[in-house]
Amino acid sequence: MIKYVIKRLFYAIPVFLGITFTVYLLINLAPGGPLSILAASGEMSLSDLEALKVSLGLDKPVLVRYFLWLADLLHGNLGTSYRTSQAVSMMIGQRIIPSLLLTGTGIIGAIIIGIPLGVVSACKPNSIWDHISTFVAFIGASVPNFFLSLLLIYVLAVKMKLFPTSGMYSAGSNGDWKDLLYHLALPAFVCGIQPIGNYIKQTKSSVLEVLNEEYIKTARSKGLRNVVIVIKHAFRNSLIPIVTTLSLSVPFLIGGAVVTEQIFAWPGIGSLMITAITSRDYPVIMGVAVLICVVVLVVNLILDLIYAALDPRIKFK
């Protein structure tokens, strides 16, 4: 297995280089570089701009800059932001916990509620649980996140004053967890609603498929209790497609909540990305891209190991 892991890590290298190089090339080809905003303001003379260009390294060709960036990366240095002059790793570090807190709460909530709902609605079609599941999945698939957020803010925050409209903490509070939960409730709900629909649908359909298998009939005719059949035989064997669906949510954990973070003024990676893109802050955009890339590659590897654990027929090649 260790051999397999090492082999997979080697395969990940070209993917990583490919993605980072493409993003680097794209943002550097964009019309209106980071200096054009300064130039347009007219506050700097041409020679100052030229000097700044050299000090930021923007005078070198794109390819050279990419390799310099890559060399820095290997030394664990993500560079400094053009906009704030802070270290990119620090800026990302400050944002990652709020981001994970938001999307993580949403997704974990969706797993805890969605998967049991899916199993129950597969076992008891047309029951009240089945109807609730269908309705929740329907909302998740057809109501855009930003509109749902606006509706929630309008009804629950503005009209009924049950929740705050935005932010992570109330002004003047010093990191109190109750205050945090109070602010987290609405945006986390929005982050969870789409995944929960997917989890319900996927769990229901894969459990339904397994319930039609011959070995379930055998288990029934052996007189096993229904709970044992569902949990031990049906659910266990329908896990592979469910895990795949769960895995598709992982890239969403980082930077997936761009819209939600923007509406609720949540200080996460998504809103960092938006400011970086609009101000052409290349090092920050690249830093976030690297982060997402690494997370995705690592998660895919872990996923393959989970598959093998779930289904002994899958061998490491």
Partner: protein
Amino acid sequence: MKKILSNQAVKKFMHNRKAVLGLIIVGFLVLAVILMPIFMKLDPYTTDRAVGFNKAPCPGHLLGTDDVGRDLFARLLYGGRISLFVGIMSTVISVLIGIPLGLIAGYFRGIAETVIMRVADAFMSFPTMVLILVLVAVFGPSILTVTVVIGVLGWTAIAKLIYGNVLSIREREYIQATKAIGMSTPKILLSEVLPNAIPPVWANISFRVAGAILTESSLSFLGMGVQTPQASWGNIIFAAQNLLVLTARPWVWFPPGICIILVVVGFNFIGEGVRDALDPKTK
């Protein structure tokens, strides 16, 4: 034979209540956004100086006016034209890229298969919204960029479906037979493999239109999509990022939101209907 089969599918589709409802919703919205501006002589771009800006709904302006005094009902309909256009055209682009790539990967296998499918996996595992935002920022937000970017990034699902179908079709006996009688490879691909690989994709196309409209509206809502003075459902709602508009003028942002939901539901219902109609296992 083919005719009977397709007729049976059509019959099945028309007996599916949800599918017909989806068809009615989408048909109604399409007709409304195309015909109503013509018959009602609506103008989404000109400021109505007599009425002023930020006005509540009144007989002359069914949904009031926006912050520069443009008629919001007209903008809702024109915005619908643009949102539907972006949704449908970007799906056309996804299909035009996805079908050939899926076909090549599934039929020729080997290196083509490895490269195309690895790239598809890489695309699928990346958070699409972040990628779209970077690309839109690079090329500058406009209707054209939004359509192309959503379209180009949407090829993976279509390619994977086609690929899966082609994998099983290429092993069938009738394909072996066409090879044996010396049919050329392009002809086998176009006249034998492709027609049999496409039907399951139809449902996915409908889902993709719904997804593309959702993505476009999110982008426009963030200010990174369709730009004013052009209207889209997303950029009308953009105004509601201002808490004053959100709380005091719900007629600005509520109707376009409902329109997005309706059109997405409509296309999703049609997609489900098509999927069930083409599936021989369902009645």
